[in-house]
Amino acid sequence: MTKQYKAVSLISGGLDSMLATQLVLAQGIHVEGINFFTGFCVEGHTHAIRKHDKNKVKRNNALWVAEQLGIKLHIIDIVEEYKNVVLNPKHGYGQHVNPCLDCKIFMVGKAKAWMEAQGFDFIITGEVIGQRPMSQLAKRMPIVAAESGADDRLLRPLCAQNLAPTLPEREGWIDRAQLKDFSGRSRKPQMALAKSFAIDDYAQPAGGCCFLTDKNYATKLQDLWQARKKRDYELDDIMLLKVGRHLRPTENFKLIIGREEGENNYLSGYRKQFTSMRVLDHEGPLALVDGTPTAEELHLAARITARFSQGRDAQNVEVGITTDSGSAHTLNVQPLPADELPKAWYV
């Protein structure tokens, strides 16, 4: 009996890793998927939080892809270890705070450890030469294989024919002739291949697979580091950067203001970690105060919060303030007029 070879595939939820996996499945290889949760993933959360997305199906794309392919999927929480990748990328950042090359090396390295622990034979990724993110640039392709330690057990089915044959190809576990030679930025070959597999409903990530490639998100993350005078973060920090309006009127504090009910509910889950405020005599959002405002600054925070409530045109409104330890008091404030709220406060 010939050996049943097994591959672990890095499933991002996007089309490329889906196609790469399908190419290998079609050759009779047993494939299982692995998906890494870094905290920055564009999956689920924001959809789940914001109400106006309620009608959209809030599917997790990686799970969906695995189900379409008929493979198992293992989702791995790498939040803690991933910090070092984001904070100290050996190969630097891409356009924003995306450490794509280090990220790929790290993930392939993790997949390699998983492969060895589970007795699998090789690793698949959906990388394509000459296509973003930056680790996919041709000259950098060997770095991922070498620095992750995966070496020639790393197969990129979509561009394998442009690269030196890997172990699975040389050993005949897989037929190189049936792999692809995609390159460049054009998505046409992928779309055509998808069509040939009758795959028509796939996620089209705009930009990258994670928030680190998002300009606005990157600005918020850098603001956080600057304000805390320390480049570090907790999972809660990076989740909160995806929610609400963020305003920093002074160095000392930032306000996170819910934009609608879903966000208010989500933010209210953090009332034991932050001072929170809400207008009491009108409808209005929940706001979290991040930092250590002076009494004067807290008063300003209350006026800003009032600005975003239905009472914005009232002479005075009552703002209820609760500290993280639960002690509550009320401030009677005049809502901040629109022209006193500079754009520069928005992070």
Binding site: F37, E43, H45, A48, K58, N60, L63, A66, L73
Partner: protein, 76 residues
């Protein structure tokens, strides 16, 4: 066969799925796991995860107070 519970409240997807996965890895086939969540995304994600990995959802997701409650039977 035994019954187990998991609190995945205030976690956003895919964290509840990861918690379920890690818990199920410690359970035996036939065990029952009841999961308490708050993120509505779990109504899609946990059943999908079960289908993919060969576990069975027992009944429909239930909503009680602010919780979304799912029960599953661990597969082989």
């Amino acid at each position: 066969m035994s019954d187990h519970e998991l609190d995945a409240r205030n976690l956003l997807c895919p964290m509840p799925v990861i918690r379920v996965q890690n818990k199920v890895n410690q359970l035996q086939a036939g065990d029952i796991l009841t999961v308490y969540c708050t993120d509505p995304g779990v109504k899609q994600d946990i059943p999908a995860w079960c289908r993919i990995n060969g576990h069975a959802l027992v009944g429909e997701p239930e909503e009680r107070d602010n919780d979304i409650i799912l029960t599953l039977r661990v597969g082989d």
